[in-house]
């Protein structure tokens, strides 16, 4: 006769393992449906690609207690307003270029990647671009010749030359601008942004 208590038996734990796993999977699938709906471009958390036609701010939301992206007045990227399709095409070119150039194995994007170079989540809003008026031009020049436009801030680290064309560079800038508009629950915290027109309105 077996002296094993029910709570120490093989069959009890086998059933528990199956039911726990199945339950967690169902919860994950339900949450996935909701999450995907919320993060599809054009929603409140992840704006439509045409957001690159507007000025983007990153400000402290006192109610939420953390920083939030704010979409401001019209300020088309490279001075040319794009339709939703054109904007998506440009952002996608940039996104694909960041993959083909393997940016993620030096940089982090939304905090994920490697830690050899700065995070790109809010790179569009970084103070390092000096002034709003020269930002786009500086970004394009830097991406096409990173060695010649070094941005090491006292470190000897330099971005390598990745043979980025002007068209690809424009795509990357569009992608970075769009990414900076994503609601990341306040990450990165306390980010000091570049001064932009209309800053005091928000």
């Amino acid at each position: 006769m077996s002296t094993t208590k029910w709570w120490a038996s093989e069959s009890f734990w086998r059933k528990t393992a199956i039911w726990v796993t199945a339950f967690m999977l169902v919860v994950l699938i339900l949450l996935t449906f909701d999450t995907i709906k919320q993060i599809t471009a054009g929603g409140s958390r992840v704006p439509a690609y045409s957001v690159i036609n507007n000025r983007i701010y990153y400000k402290l939301d006192r109610e939420k207690g953390h920083m939030m992206p704010i979409i401001g007045a019209e300020a088309p990227l490279f001075g040319k307003k794009l339709s939703e399709e054109e904007a998506e095409k440009l952002v996608s070119l940039g996104k694909m270029t960041t993959q083909a150039k393997n940016c993620m194995n030096c940089h982090t994007l939304l905090g994920n990647g490697a830690y050899y170079a700065p995070d790109l989540t809010k790179a569009w809003l970084d103070q390092g671009w000096g002034a709003e008026s020269v930002r786009e031009d500086m970004m394009l020049r830097f991406l096409q010749d990173p060695g010649g436009n070094g941005r090491g801030y006292g470190s000897a680290r330099r971005m390598p030359n990745l043979n980025i064309t002007e068209e690809e560079a424009r795509g990357i800038v569009a992608f970075l601008k769009w990414m900076s508009s994503i609601d990341t629950n306040g990450f990165p915290n306390n980010f000091k942004t570049i001064t932009q027109e209309g800053d005091n309105d928000y």
Partner: protein
């Protein structure tokens, strides 16, 4: 003096396939450490191989070699134990060998392309032929498809052998786990411009592999290993395995939420991810209790001392690396400041080594013991210092790197994140700060210790048991 040779006739057909995977895995393990050393040096000498072999390429090979060698170790382990568990020969040996060679050749081509071509223009062709530029699963799309085919052949072989032979608790868990493991890889095989959606599914692959299905897989290998090496009671070990599966999937599936704090996903993930990932160390504690209890119960009398040493190293390494180091920065209140800093690198080094390198090495020792005709490998073997020092150097090396990276990580989190708000200037201010730099120097020194450990490990695996006249201890 007797000399035991490596003899393929000592192995069953599944074990012959396993041996090929184990050898290939060791080659990639060495490559992983070599490229790790170069990447570490590039932190200290930023101009090293500038515009020739840049950090992104070196680091990609470092982490890809790791993923593939560990996967090969797992595949090898399954082939190693399948005939023993199922009680019949492997159903498709030829197919298994074919899949191995396809897989190995594909990996070789991918690495050559990584090294020579490196990057391409921003179009689909680059993602299909060169690399996908997505951390851990960088392999170009053609290789993804190849990997899926090879893994399907592997899955067919394992599942069909059990179906034809007999089932056990271990094999049941193993086969169901392999279904999930193979299926999840598909979640990473598409392109989208929407980075939030991309990273959502990308984590399904990465997290569900390393924090769920891989953990359960090594739980199966551990269960089988304890029975074989220690003579542990199958019924008790199987019950433990079910408990671990319940705890692992109970915490790990929704623990996925700790990757969904900052990528654009809704706020409810902060609570769900924080809560469930805080529970993730629980099954790892259970594993330590399980392994130490079983070893003590048998007074550490076992048939393979090096393998037993590495199994114990696995239990503790998994708990500290994945459990403690993961828990340290898993709560969103902390993670807001540590996400994407050297904290992650610190955790990554100890977790991958502690949870997965260790148990694969244990399997390598079990394999060479049989390859040499069931050689004696318990107390008093010749040149025992080699395996002991290999174990010590590898563990001290990785632990040292982990602590050093954590010091740098603390420094980075305070300066770059808390003070400077993650701006580019703040990033570099942290990178050139004295404490950060000191951490990087120590990381490199411990990297060399790790490298010394692997040289000794390779030497030991090639020679252990060679001059033993006795057969393995019966347990």
């Amino acid at each position: 003096m007797t000399t035991r040779k490596f003899n393929w006739n000592n192995l069953n057909s599944g074990q012959k396939v396993a041996m090929k995977y184990f050898i290939a895995a060791m080659v990639l393990f060495v490559a992983q450490i070599l490229f790790g050393l170069i990447a570490g040096l590039q932190y200290l000498i930023p101009g090293l191989f500038y515009n020739q072999l840049d950090f992104n390429v070196v680091r990609m090979i470092h982490i890809n070699a790791m993923v593939i060698w560990m996967l090969w170790g797992f595949i090898g382990s399954c082939y190693w134990l399948v005939e023993d568990e199922a009680g019949i020969p492997l159903v498709g040996t030829k197919l298994a060998n074919l899949a191995f060679w396809l897989f190995a050749i594909a990996v070789a081509i991918v690495v050559v392309v990584y090294l020579v071509v490196q990057i391409g223009p921003g179009n689909q062709q680059s993602l299909w032929l060169i690399n996908e530029g997505r951390e851990y699963i960088e392999a170009p799309r053609w290789a993804d498809i190849g990997i899926v085919v090879c893994v399907l052949i592997f899955f067919y072989n394992i599942a069909a052998t059990f179906l034809k032979g007999k089932w056990s608790g271990i094999s049941g868990v193993l086969v169901l786990d392999l279904v999930a493991l193979a299926g999840l890889y598909l979640a990473g095989m598409f392109y989208t411009a929407n980075i939030s959606i991309e990273q959502y599914w990308w984590w399904w692959v990465i997290h569900m592999w390393v924090e769920a299905t891989w953990e359960v897989l090594v739980g199966c290998i551990m269960a089988w290993g304890l029975i074989k090496v220690l003579g542990a009671n199958r019924k008790i070990v199987t019950t433990w395995l079910y408990i671990e599966v319940a705890l692992m999937f109970g915490s790990g599936i929704l623990g996925l939420g700790h990757h969904y704090f900052w990528i654009g996903t809704p706020e409810y993930w902060l609570s769900i991810g924080g809560f469930f990932s805080a529970l993730e160390p629980v099954p790892l504690v259970a594993m330590v209790v399980h392994a130490v209890y079983d070893s003590g119960k048998h007074n550490f009398r076992n048939k393979n001392h090096p393998a037993m040493g590495w199994l114990i190293a696995h239990a503790f390494g998994n708990f500290f690396g994945a459990g403690v180091w993961g828990f340290m920065h898993t709560l969103p209140q902390i993670n807001l400041y540590t996400h994407g800093t050297q904290w992650s690198a610190s955790h990554g080094h100890l977790a991958f080594f502690g949870a997965y390198a260790t148990i694969n090495i244990a399997m390598f020792y079990i394999a060479v013991q049989h390859w040499r005709g069931n050689a004696y490998m318990s107390g008093g073997i010749a040149h025992a210092w080699r395996w002991k020092w290999a174990l010590a150097l590898l563990n001290i090396g990785v632990m040292g790197m982990t602590i050093a990276l954590l010091v740098s990580g603390y420094d980075q989190a305070f300066i770059e994140r808390a003070l400077e708000g993650a701006s580019w200037a703040g990033f570099f201010k942290a990178q050139i700060s004295t404490w950060f730099q000191q951490g990087m120097y120590w990381r490199q020194i411990f990297g060399y210790v790790t490298a010394a450990g692997i040289i000794l490990l390779v030497w030991d695996l090639l020679t252990i048991g060679k001059s033993e006249s006795k057969d393995a201890l019966e347990v």
